[in-house]
Amino acid sequence: MHVLELRGVSKRLGRRMVVEDLNMTVEAGEVYGFLGPNGAGKTTTIRMIVGLIRPTAGEIRILGHDVQRDPVRALAHVGAIVENPELYSYLTGRQNLIHYARLAGVNDIARRVERVAERVGLADRLDEKVKRYSLGMRQRLGVAQALIADPKLLVLDEPTNGLDPAGMREFRELIRALAREGMAVFVSSHLLAEVEQMCDKVAVLRGGRVIAEARIADLTASVGHVWLRVSRPDMAQAVLRNSGWEVARDGGRLRVAAKDEAAIAAVVRALVEQGIDVYEVAPGGGLEQSFLALTGESPAHAAGMA
């Protein structure tokens, strides 16, 4: 049984079809990225998954329970953040968590609150009023409330907003750890890099339709290129071109098509043999390339997405 299953889901808001004919499945232990630019319909989809709005057509099942027809059973195993996690600012972090734990039917509330707070790194500030939290702390509390009932499905809408780089990495590690424990995670984002680092699978949403879906592993394994910084770029370009490599010049750097690690090693060897110093070899977004190929878009579009 799929943890999350969307079948033919559409949503009309006013006269516009904001989301059209979505079909997705998310399995246990899988982190599913939901990628799309602003206004693509990510939040709308997530609102439908957690039962905040009802689909115009189609059905959404969580662990086999229809969200519309049997919301109590469907939502019993869901933790969610929708847009910003707005919490009760006049309550303390602990009171907020107790509040949600009661609604989720958690048994040993005090213990569970402590556990979850520790997991998101908020244990020492838990008894402060939320209005005195920083944005990042609120975000952490948001994750804590999503985890409070030990859900089987975690639905997160752009969860890394407001986190510093360290916090972001911590967050990614947390998500990966949760997935290893068997949780299914559905996470929306408009950052390709974030999805790449966090997810197993990605669906690309544009204009309310899924235009592509793929495994991250498949994408990264396919064609890519490297960026080189060398002592004599002109000569290096000539040398590589003579050896049959596809080379482009971008300012002081060279862009060389290299489809795997063996190819990269061959390129470097060729340059060093000709007495050219190699200062830097940087992987050049193999994912991005294949991503563009996948979605059939020009790089200008991709910039808008990044």
Partner: protein, 408 residues
């Protein structure tokens, strides 16, 4: 059931920590202080008022007038004036004697009450009886009977009439609450309740509330239970504080003063005067309550009416997404309702508006019927309030159950 209890605990936790409760508490204390200060002021006024002295001054003035008049040349007109003055002086002296007797011996009122009973009985026996009475005669008969019962109650329960400049804290509390039940208290309830759902919409917290494995109607029911309980509690506390302030300023005397309940009225126009409406009281189901008991019922009925006000504000808070709009509309409903029910009070349809019945005790006592000039009973008042609450709540629940939560 367990889920509902958890929702109730949550909502209570939030309610008591919100700033609105503090605002309500402060405003409530202001209302109590207003009452206490007003009563204190009136008490000071009453203390400066010495009836014996005032009556004596009046007599002295009349006597000096008489001496002056006696010195003027005698005419028929002068003699008539002198006779009038003499009569007035004699009456004033008798009044003074009564006042002095009352102050000297506090039990004189018993004889007076007894005399009033005898007098009323005599008048009744002289009046024509039977079904063919004029409305004015019926009204007179009824009020004579009421007077007899009232005086008997006083004698039986040792409840002397309280006449100015004496003040009865119980009566003062009752009359203040009568006003407060239609103005201050509903507004406080509105402040407390009107953002209970709309506030969560405005803040966006509704999202993380609704995504739990709890039915929306359970969430809403829990919220309703909490706000109505809080409103009833707040109004009871307020009534208690007003009573306490009255006791502290004016003392506890007069708790047994009689109060009518269950008086019904018929409003008849006699054929010769089609414009004048005569209220004909009917005391068949009426009873007298000591004022302390009346006050107790009053507080309970006010609390019940505030449950309805809370339900109306609750309705607004589920209909409007902005806490500000919801508060404004609920306040408008109370204030405009108050004005409309006052301006159009002789129209029959006013009986179907909720602000008419916020002081349910006046429905029970018959004062509301007198003011509206239409038959009004406690039963009607309760029925009207229940209809308002049930209809609006039904709309709230249906709407909230289906609503797309989009912009929160």
């Amino acid at each position: 059931m367990g889920t509902l209890w958890n929702v109730v605990r949550n909502e209570w936790m939030k309610l008591v920590r919100r700033r609105r409760l503090t605002v309500v508490a402060i405003l409530g204390l202001c209302v109590v202080a207003l009452f206490a200060f007003g009563e204190y002021h009136r008490l000071r006024e009453a203390q400066n008022f010495n009836p014996v002295q005032i009556q004596q001054t009046a007599i002295a003035q009349m006597e000096s007038e008489r001496t002056q008049l006696a010195q003027s040349p005698p005419t028929a007109q002068r003699d008539a004036q002198l006779r009038d003055l003499d009569q007035a002086i004699a009456k004033a002296k008798a009044d003074l004697a009564q006042t002095k007797a009352r102050t000297a011996s506090p039990e004189t009122w018993r004889q007076q009450a007894q005399a009033a009973i005898e007098n009323a009985k005599q008048q009744l026996s002289q009046m024509p009886s039977g079904p063919a009475l004029l409305p004015s005669q019926q009204a007179q008969r009824a009020s004579l009977q009421a007077e007899i019962m009232e005086n008997q109650f006083r004698l039986q329960h040792h409840a002397p009439p309280v006449v100015w400049p004496q003040m009865n804290s119980w009566e003062e509390t009752v009359s203040f609450l009568g006003v407060a039940a239609k103005t201050f208290i509903p507004l406080l309830v509105v402040v407390l309740v009107a953002d209970i759902v709309a506030g969560e919409m405005t803040d966006g917290t509704i999202k993380l509330l609704v995504v739990r494995p709890v039915r929306r109607r359970t969430l809403l029911l829990g919220k309703w239970l909490v706000v109505t309980a809080a409103s009833a509690l707040c109004s009871l506390v307020l009534c208690g504080l007003v009573w306490l302030a009255g006791i502290l300023v004016l003392g506890t005397k007069g708790a047994m003063s009689p109060h009518w309940v269950g008086v019904t009225y018929q409003f008849v126009t006699s054929p010769d005067q089609p414009l004048a409406v005569t209220p004909v009281p009917d005391y068949t189901h009426a009873a007298l309550l000591p004022v302390w008991q009346y006050l107790l019922y009053d507080s309970l009925w006010i609390a019940a009416a505030m449950v309805v006000v809370a339900s109306i504000a609750f309705f607004c808070s589920t209909i409007f997404k902005s806490a500000m709009v919801s508060t404004a509309v609920s306040m408008g409903a109370v204030v405009i309702g108050l004005v409309v029910t006052d301006m159009a009070r002789h129209q029959g349809w006013v009986r179907w508006l909720f602000p008419t019945h916020l002081n349910l005790m006046s429905d029970w006592s018959g004062e509301a019927a007198l003011a509206l000039q239409h038959p009004v009973t406690l039963g009607l008042g309760v029925l009207v309030l229940v209809i308002w609450a049930v209809v609006l709540l039904a709309v709230s629940f249906i709407r909230f159950g289906r609503q797309d939560i989009l912009n929160a």
